[in-house]
C-alpha cells in the first residue's frame, strides 16, 4: 500500500479531503465577511480596507493561489464522491421516504441541506465566477465606481452600483442563501467526518452548525439590502 495516495483514494480519505478543504473555505468565507462589513463604515473605511489588502501583495497572491487550489481539490473530491454514490445504487426505490420521521424515532434523518450539497455547491461555483467578474476584475477607478452624485467612490462605488441593481441584489441574496445552506450542513459534517465529537455532543454540534449557516447567510445578505435602502433614501432626498 502506498502512503497518502491510498488514503485519498479511499472513501473516508476522500471525505476527509473534502472536510479539510471545506474548513479552509469556511475560514475564507468568515474572513471575507468580516472584510465586507467595512462597507458599513462608509467609502473611506471600505476603500481603505481594500487598499490594505492590495498592499499585502505579493504575499496575497500566495494565499489566493492556495485558495484556488483548495477550491479545486474540494470540487474534484466532491465530484468523485457524488459520482461514486450514484453508482452505488443503480436502481432506485419506487417509493422513498426519509427514515427520520418514523414512529418512535426522534432523531431527524437527512436534512434538505444535506441532500442539496451538490446543488448548493454548484450555485457557489457559478456565483464565484460572476462575483469575480463583477468586483475583482473591474476597473475600480473607471465609470463603474461613479455614484449618482457624479463623484467616483472607487471600489465602494462599484459595489453600490452593482448591488443597487435589483436583479443583482436578488441573485446575490439567493447565492448567499445557498452558501448558508451549504455551511449549515458542511460545518457539522466536517466535525463528523473527522470524528471530533461523540454521541452526546453531536446534537449540539448540529444546532450550532445550522445557526452558523443561517448567521453567515444573513450577515452577507444584509449588505445588498443595506445598499438598496441607501439608494432608496438617496432618491427620496432627491440628490
Amino acid at each position: 500500500m502506498n502512503g497518502s495516495s491510498s488514503h485519498s483514494r479511499s472513501s473516508i480519505g476522500k471525505k476527509q479531503l473534502v472536510a479539510a478543504t471545506g474548513l479552509f473555505l469556511i475560514l475564507f468565507v468568515v474572513a471575507h465577511l468580516a472584510g465586507n462589513l467595512f462597507i458599513y463604515g462608509g467609502p473611506e473605511a471600505f476603500n481603505g480596507y481594500a487598499k490594505k489588502l492590495v498592499g499585502l501583495r505579493p504575499g496575497l497572491y500566495f494565499l489566493e493561489a492556495a485558495l484556488l487550489v483548495v477550491f479545486l481539490i474540494h470540487l474534484d473530491a466532491t465530484a468523485r464522491l457524488v459520482l461514486e454514490n450514484l453508482r452505488a445504487r443503480p436502481t432506485g426505490y419506487r417509493q422513498g421516504a426519509p427514515a427520520g420521521d418514523r414512529q418512535g424515532h426522534s432523531a431527524a434523518g437527512g436534512s434538505f441541506a444535506s441532500r442539496l450539497m451538490p446543488w448548493t455547491g454548484a450555485v457557489i461555483v457559478a456565483f464565484v465566477i460572476w462575483h469575480l467578474l463583477d468586483f475583482t476584475f473591474v476597473d475600480r477607478d473607471g465609470p463603474a465606481g461613479i455614484l449618482p452624485d457624479g463623484r467616483s467612490y472607487g471600489l465602494f462605488g462599484v459595489v453600490y452600483n452593482s448591488l443597487g441593481n435589483p436583479v443583482h441584489c436578488v441573485l446575490y441574496i439567493a447565492a448567499m442563501l445557498c452558501v448558508g445552506t451549504h455551511l449549515s450542513h458542511g460545518i457539522q459534517s466536517f466535525i463528523q467526518t473527522f470524528g471530533l465529537v461523540g454521541e452526546r455532543r453531536l446534537p449540539a454540534v448540529r444546532r450550532i452548525s445550522n445557526a452558523l449557516g443561517i448567521a453567515i447567510a444573513l450577515a452577507y445578505s444584509s449588505i445588498p439590502i443595506y445598499v438598496q435602502l441607501s439608494f432608496w433614501v438617496f432618491s427620496r432626498r432627491g440628490v
Binding site: 497518502s4 454514490n85 452505488a88 427514515a99 432523531a107 454521541e199
Partner: protein
C-alpha cells in the same frame, strides 16, 4: 375475535439476478392484525401456491429480531414504519384497513438481488473477514478480572455489538453506504482491550473491503441511524473516521 384488515400489496418480483423484475399487485384480504409482517407474507404465499403461482421469496430465520436475516423496504422505509424494529417484529396492527403496501428489496450495488426480496449480503461477510475479528490464542479463558475495561467503553462497545448485520443502513442510505455497519464493528472491537491491539489493521482492512464491494460514501445524512433496528449511533461512524485517519500513521512509521 381478532381484528382483520384487507391490504393491497405492491411487491417486487424478480426471477433471478438476470431478470429485469417488476412490481406485481396482490390482494391480501382478511389479515389478522396480531400477525407479524412475515406471517402476513406467509399467508399471501400460501394462497399464491394454492393458485399454482410462485410464492414471494424473502429472507428470514429467527423471527424474533436477533439474527438479521429478514428485511425489506416497506413503503419507502427499511424494516417498515416503526423505529428500532426488524421486519419480523413488525405487527400488522401498524397498518390500516385498505392500506396499499409497497414492498421492495434492499437496493444497492453491493447487495445484488438473488430473487424477489432476497438480496446477496455476502459483501458483509467479506468485510468481516477483512478485520472484523480478534486474533487470540485459544485455550483456557483468562481470569475475568485480569483485563480491566472502563465501564463507559464496555457500555459503548456493547451498544455497537447490538448490530445484527441486516443491511438496513445500506438500504436507507441515499448513497447505499455501509459505513454504519462497518462503524459498528470497528467500535465493537476497537473499544475493548482485546480488540484494541489490531484496531489499526482492522479499520484499514474493513474500509478497503467496503470500498471494493461498491458501497457508497457516507455524506452524513444519518438516515442509517433512523432505519437501524438496533439503534446503532452514527457516532460509531465518527469513531471509524477518527480511527481511519490515525491509522495512516502506520504507513509512515512502518519499520520494514
Amino acid at each position: 375475535m381478532a381484528k382483520t384488515i384487507n391490504l393491497i400489496l405492491n411487491v417486487w418480483r424478480q426471477k433471478g439476478a438476470q431478470d429485469k423484475g417488476r412490481f406485481e399487485v396482490y390482494k391480501a384480504d382478511g389479515i389478522d392484525t396480531d400477525m407479524s409482517f412475515l406471517e402476513m407474507l406467509d399467508v399471501v404465499n400460501e394462497r399464491l401456491m394454492k393458485e399454482g403461482k410462485e410464492p414471494i421469496a424473502f429472507d428470514h430465520d429467527c423471527r424474533e429480531g436477533i439474527c438479521g436475516a429478514c428485511g425489506a423496504v416497506v413503503n419507502g422505509r427499511p424494516h417498515g414504519p416503526m423505529a428500532k424494529t426488524t421486519l419480523c417484529q413488525l405487527h400488522m396492527r401498524r397498518f390500516k384497513d385498505n392500506d396499499t403496501v409497497t414492498i421492495e428489496p434492499w437496493r444497492a450495488r453491493g447487495f445484488p438481488i438473488v430473487k424477489d426480496l432476497v438480496v446477496d449480503r455476502s459483501a458483509f461477510d467479506r468485510i468481516m473477514a477483512s478485520g472484523g475479528f480478534i486474533s487470540v490464542k485459544t485455550g483456557s479463558a483468562p481470569e475475568a478480572n485480569a483485563v480491566p475495561v472502563r465501564r463507559r467503553d464496555a457500555e459503548t462497545a456493547m451498544d455497537a455489538a447490538a448490530c445484527i448485520g441486516c443491511g438496513a443502513c445500506v438500504a436507507a442510505c441515499p448513497n447505499a453506504s455501509a459505513m454504519l455497519f462497518v462503524g459498528a464493528k470497528v467500535s465493537h472491537f476497537g473499544l475493548l482491550p482485546q480488540g484494541r491491539v489490531e484496531a489499526k489493521e482492522r479499520v484499514r482492512g474493513m474500509v478497503a473491503r467496503m470500498d471494493a464491494e461498491g458501497f457508497g460514501n457516507c455524506s452524513n445524512h444519518y438516515e442509517c441511524e433512523a432505519a437501524c433496528p438496533k439503534g446503532i449511533s452514527v457516532s460509531t461512524i465518527a469513531r471509524m473516521n477518527r480511527e481511519y485517519l490515525s491509522s495512516q500513521e502506520m504507513i509512515w512509521t512502518k519499520e520494514s
